[in-house]
């Protein structure tokens, strides 16, 4: 079936729903497409908080500087200026929508400290800020009556005459393929954590939108900038929020030392995430770890603070490693968490492909450059979700209705049918994904070098070749997860390839991209972004936009 709308949003996390809400407010007929129910989106896992320079003695310029420094000067400063100057407005707006932010003793919005910030400017709801924001936005979507195509899986973008005019999606509950035709598409599909194993990310974070946009002609930028979060739980890789360190928790090595003293004497545990992850990796490498981990010690925070401010991570540690953080330190290690890179957009969320927008983690404006500060991601989704939605609505108003696309729908039906009919030849999506994940976590992690990266690239190529032989173990129509997993693997391989190729291209160390063979930052040659373009062997480059903050030495 062909269904027409003005704007189609792919992904119903914070960025997706914020952009849909904005587009709806501007009068567009919006539809949201999501492969899971909106509240299952991974935004719900963000724990610690959301940044804004609202408080006395704080200024958006200071927030911007912290962000740019945190990004190791790879962020585009015009975009960061927008992020930080508009942040207060977006926070207040969320509060008006009903988010139950923490209050200080005057009943006003209250803050907690977070990594890389010169002032406490992180607003929060317990340790479930992402969940609180997500549900409030979902409630607003319901109030506004926005149409949501729930459990619809996108298989390709509809590109007509060089512009993006919709997408084809599989209705999982009924097994039918549909063309959702529109004048603009906003991709808000989040991250690609499952490319790595382990990762803090949910199983649904498979880089769908990044790959779809990439194949439609939108370049992927700064894909080598993969953030390893310092405190992920031993074994499972579950995230333990930075909020713990914000409340005052320590990081200890096997000798019981607060080792951050040696790496970031000023900010200590609240230095930027890449600095802390590297510090932990060094401690573990040099033999001061315990079973591949270091320790997060919250005991001195006291029972009351832990149960009131950090209840969720307390439970995570208890349920999944059997450690009660009230009485014992928790074993943690750096784990893949976030991708700063993504689909290249301008400050309005526009990609190189007309009609195609992107916002949230899957986009790269770039706000976070080489490293993202904690609590800036939630902010990113709201500010740039709003911009994308608003601009897409305006664009849609000025664009004549889309026609055609039936041929694409037929082609997709044939393609998926052929995929379903492939006989089993020994390759499963599960095994390929595991091999990919382990390869990435070994060679494209906290520390990289040329030899390792080349090995990784070779492995990805091999996996892409084997992918052509993967079969789908479920031949049914209704709720065919096996089919979606195979398609997701294809998306992930695209993202993995872009990540490795970008990492090979950048011969310096900056932010989260640390190369043992090029251990220093090289502003003379590398104040630029790396772009991977579909169909081109060589990367493209774009200079970083600098407005008022000249690159400095970055210490914490």
């Amino acid at each position: 079936m062909v269904i027409d709308h003005d704007v189609v949003v792919l992904g119903a996390g914070l960025a997706g729903m914020r952009s849909a809400l904005e587009a709806a407010r501007r009068g567009a007929d919006v539809a949201v497409v999501s492969k899971v129910h909106p509240v299952r989106s991974h935004s719900n896992a963000a724990q610690g908080g959301i940044n804004a320079a609202i408080g006395e003695g704080d200024s958006w310029e200071l927030h911007a500087f912290d962000t740019i420094k945190g990004a190791d000067y790879l962020a585009d400063q015009d975009a960061v200026e927008i992020l930080c100057s508009e942040a207060p407005g977006d926070i207040i707006e969320m509060e008006h929508m009903g988010v139950i932010f923490y209050r200080d003793e005057h009943g006003k919005l209250g803050t907690r400290a977070f990594g890389g910030a010169s002032k406490a400017r992180t607003y929060f709801v317990g340790d479930i800020t992402g969940q609180a924001l997500l549900y409030t936005l979902y409630d607003q979507i319901l109030k506004a009556g926005v149409k949501v195509y729930e459990e619809w899986f996108a298989t390709t973008l509809f590109v007509d005459d060089g512009a993006c005019r919709g997408l084809v999606a599989l209705d999982l509950l009924h097994g039918d393929l549909h063309l959702l035709r529109s004048k603009a598409v906003i991709v808000c599909t989040g991250g690609m954590g499952r490319v790595y194993e382990p990762s803090t990310n949910a199983l649904i974070c498979t880089g769908d939108g990044m790959s779809l946009a990439y194949r439609a002609g939108a370049p992927l930028m700064d894909m080598e900038m993969v953030q390893y979060h310092p405190t992920t739980l031993k074994g499972s890789g579950f995230l333990l929020s930075e909020a713990a360190r914000g409340e005052g928790a320590y990081l200890l090595n096997s000798k019981g030392e607060r080792f951050m003293e040696r790496y970031a004497p000023n900010k200590m545990e609240l230095a930027s995430r890449d600095v802390v992850s590297r510090a932990e990796t060094t401690e573990i490498k040099e033999g001061r770890g315990i079973d591949g981990c270091v320790l997060l010690d919250c005991r001195h925070l006291g029972r009351d603070v832990i149960l009131r401010k950090l209840p969720q991570i307390h439970e995570l540690a208890l349920d999944f490693v059997g450690v009660d953080m009230i009485t014992d330190p928790v074993p943690i290690r750096p784990g893949m968490h976030y991708i700063m890179g993504g689909i290249k957009t301008d400050v309005k969320g526009r990609t190189r492909v007309p009609g195609l927008y992107a916002a949230g983690e899957c986009a790269c404006v770039s706000l976070h450059g080489g490293n993202r500060l904690g609590a800036n991601s939630l902010l990113d989704t709201l500010v740039f979700g709003r911009h994308s939605g608003g601009d897409a609505a305006t664009y849609a108003k000025e664009t004549p209705p889309t026609t055609g696309g039936e041929a694409l729908l037929t082609d997709e039906q044939r393609r998926l049918q052929a995929l379903l009919e492939r006989p089993y030849r020994g390759e499963t999506h599960a095994r390929l994904r595991l091999e990919m994940g382990q390869t990435m976590d070994t060679y494209v992690a906290v520390e990289r070098d040329a030899a390792g990266l080349e090995t990784a690239l070779k492995k990805i190529r091999e996996l892409q070749e084997r992918y052509a032989r993967v079969s789908v173990g479920d031949k049914g129509r209704i709720y065919n997860q096996a089919l979606t997993f195979v398609l997701e693997l294809g998306y992930m391989l695209d993202c993995a390839e872009a990540t490795v190729r970008s990492a090979i291209a950048r011969t310096e160390s900056r932010g989260a991209h640390y190369r043992t063979d090029y251990p220093h930052r090289n502003d003379d040659e590398w104040l630029k972004h790396v772009l991977i373009v579909h169909g081109k062997d060589e990367p493209e480059y774009l200079p970083v936009t600098i407005t008022r903050w000249q690159p400095e030495v970055r210490t914490y």
Binding site: V39, I100, T136, G473
Partner: protein, 350 residues
Amino acid sequence: MEWTIVVGRYNPEGTIEGEPEPPPPPPYTNAVRKTYQTFTVDLPKHAAVLDGLIYIREYVDESLVVRCACRSAICGSCAMWINGHARLACKSRLDAVAVDGRVTVEAAPSMGVVKDLVWDQSPFWKKHLDAMPWLENREPIPEREYTVPNAMMENLIQEVSCISCGCCLMDCESFAVNPDFLGPHALAKAYRYADDPRDAATTERLRRYSAPGGVWDCTHCFECVSVCPKGVAPLDQILKLRRMAVEAGFTDNNGARHADAFAESVRHAGRLDELMLVPKSNGLFNIAANLRELPGAWNLLRAGKLFSMFRRPIPGVQRIRDIFKKVGGRFGGRQEADKIEAYDRPYHRL
């Protein structure tokens, strides 16, 4: 370690090999009939039921479908019946839930099934929508944030912890016999907005939730409190709504009349007067309803039980009447007692 996982499967498109089990117990007799397949998995000691299902899905049978995403009890996707009770599969360790190394999982029989463990969530979300789950802003909307004491925001965190997993509705006995009951999930959400100081629609909400299918259709059994993986305690939220609704004047229902009659008999006699409770709950002048109670009364009379239901005040009843007077508030016959924070603190935590 080896585990046996028995999975209740259902495929609308065809038949599945396996053992059909006897029909689900009343009141779930409308549930789909499932076929049960037995799998053996070898997993580390701390593995959860979800790890077992993912293992089966990846290495044994790719057609097994289960909703899951975060694996860490945050997204709420993987709620299902595990050994007959609603639980999150990712939070159920095999060594804790298995009996003799064996665990049975299936979609809860109180819900429709799409396929295997994927249940039909449309009634669940429809109820949520019926509860008017959004803020209706109190005017005037301030330029900056509303000024509210932190305690009022913290009061709502218990419900905001809800991950919409569905466990509470799956095991709600009242919902099982009454599909029109709004249910614990929707009513907890209803409370979250009803008691939000920034909301302007409280009265309208309380009117809606006092209607049939609302707060008075809850049977107060703590099942939802028990199965909720996040400590939301929906029952507590429902009871707070009841209190708010009565305080707001929505007392023309059996629930409010029942509470008044109950308290009055305790005040008067020190004990419950069952005899008058039923007609007073219906409303003494509700002839039709009270006539319908006669067969029940007749049965009690025939069994020789009615004699003891005539109450006299107990010795020392004055003590009790004094307590009523001293506490005041509803039933005490004087001004409303101050809203005391101690009684609205989250009571049930895991």
